[in-house]
Symmetry: C2
Subunit: 337 residues, 2 copies
């Protein structure tokens, strides 16, 4: 087999065998992995199962010309891990379903699988099954992630309460800035380090598993959600589900330095990128004031990951942004469809 062969030349069975050969030995909770009609996994005793699925579609979520396929494989798993993190669930098993254009090169297939399996290995997320089929159109990568958690520790987006403080992990706007830089055709080698970090965040989001799982175990968090469509959208979704309103403090929103650099260069509004830019995959937590100390103690263990108070939930149902120019309605998020 040569990397310049197409996937159609190999066919489904050979591709599955190739993938299977690359998969690491499964951990003990995988009773049966790839190779039967279904995988069999054994959840930790007394824990519930978290289930989520998300897909990446070529020319909707990525372009092969802009994004290397190992990054696409990484991201397809990362966005699902981010959903588990937002529930406070630990990684348990993953399924990978691929619809491949027949002219896709074997080298591209290998890169996609490598990106997926490298992140899977790093996060303790064994690949236990999947499906490979032909696509007459775009490359489609559909991932299902299975996590586990103690039932009473699960973090729901709907359990926020009025007067809870809102905390966000990391810095925001990076992924949207990275996408804008790629769209503007900026060449990677010449990028300044802050912008290069934005491109890396767009291509290879880092799911906040440790933050989500330890926050859940600390019992200090009322509600959580991940930032797939921006901070404004996440606050809106959490408030809507919790039956509260919210106020975001514009001056405290942690804007990524690359986003500031990009805004200076292009005249864009850095706060808009930080509030409405999609795909940062940070976590938003609602924390009641009397649990603040416990939450911040848990957050101290998220080495290198800052956490910032950005606002609070309110008893009125309105959504506001408090900025230097006063109070204004909180804008909308990023729309994929």
């Amino acid at each position: 087999m040569s990397p310049s062969q197409s996937v159609a030349e190999l066919g489904e069975h050979a591709l599955i065998a190739r993938l299977q050969a690359r998969v690491a030995a499964p951990p003990p909770w995988i009773v049966a992995g790839i190779g039967d009609d279904a995988a069999i996994v054994s959840p930790p005793r007394g824990e519930v199962i978290a289930l989520t699925t998300d897909s990446l579609v070529e020319d909707v979520h990525f372009r092969r010309a802009w994004t290397p396929l190992d990054a696409v494989g990484h991201k397809a798993l990362a966005v699902n891990l981010s959903d588990l993190a937002a529930m406070g669930a630990a990684p348990h098993a993953a399924l990978l379903s691929l619809a491949l254009p027949p002219d896709l090169l074997l080298a591209d297939f290998d890169a996609l699988v490598e990106g997926f399996l490298t992140l899977a290995g790093a996060t303790g997320m064994p690949l236990v099954g999947g499906n490979i089929t032909r696509s007459p159109g775009p490359l489609v990568i559909d991932v299902t992630a299975v996590g586990s958690a103690r039932a009473r520790r699960v973090l729901r987006r709907s359990a926020g309460r009025a007067n809870d403080d809102l905390y966000v992990t990391g810095t925001l706007g990076a992924a949207a800035t990275g996408l804008a830089a790629l769209r503007a055709g900026l060449s990677r080698p010449g990028l300044d380090p802050d912008l290069a970090a934005c491109v890396a965040r767009y291509e290879r989001p880092d799911p906040r598993l440790r933050a989500g799982v330890t926050a859940a175990r600390s019992r200090s968090v009322n509600a959580a959600i991940d930032l797939s469509d921006g901070l404004a959208d996440a606050v809106r979704q959490m408030a809507l589900a919790s039956g509260t309103g919210a106020v975001v403090d514009a001056t405290s929103v942690p804007v990524h330095p690359g986003t500031r650099a990009w805004a200076e260069r292009t005249g864009a509004d850095p706060l808009s990128l930080a509030l409405s830019g999609g795909e940062d995959y940070e976590l938003l937590f609602a924390v009641s004031r009397r649990r603040r100390r416990g939450f911040l103690a848990a957050a101290q263990r998220w080495t290198g990951l800052p956490v910032t108070r950005v606002g609070r939930l309110t008893s009125e149902s309105d959504l506001w942004l408090d900025g230097p120019r006063g109070r204004e309605p909180l804008g909308a998020g990023f729309v994929h469809f």
Copy 2:
């Protein structure tokens, strides 16, 4: 909203809300269904989890011109349920991931969802989550099915032993015959009943959940696999995984009456359709002789579903077909890719 609107006019959030409104109240083991970052399900105490995923891609697995979209929705779930049945796992929860062409009509979206949810309701398979995105090409339906079973009752394809008898449920060749009739442009109203039954089998396969689950509980079965790519392929996969060979007795293969009628009409070989025709989604069981009585007692409870002995596993690794003209190598199955 009007059924002649396109899905792009509604957008992702409205489509999810529409789907959510149609979903029945979840059973007690669903801790959290649609609407959070991940669903939370609680598996039966002491049981393991079965996981499988399979997708239907427009113009690869179905054509919108030939197959009504409610049948596509039914089939997308049915093929996954068939995988659970083959493991002896009971339905527990399903995830549905859709990539929709923007010009898809809302009426078509509704039909697809209706077909899926009707089968989900009939089989006790709650829809707990999923994903909707745009497709710049074909309609893609990706389903993940979660089942549950006692660890010691799970049916593996690899646990067959030499001298086990091979039993198959139902009658074979129907789905391939139905597809051939659709390809030949036969109009539905004029079809004879046996051929119409073949079209129905192709469009709406009936996953053999009861057979799979009761066979597993009866402790009479060594190995099982479903017939997604034909009997010959299923026998080959089971023998390969079990480290055995197999002999299929051609004269005992239960050919669907519609397949016989089609063969007479077109000159096709009915046995080839029954052996190599894909998508019948019957089950193949390997049963040791001393467990035969227990197996047949369990099978008596599969009301209306015949079970037929079609051959046996052998200690040599070859695969044979014994027919009226003597012994010949067992042919290959149906290839989707």
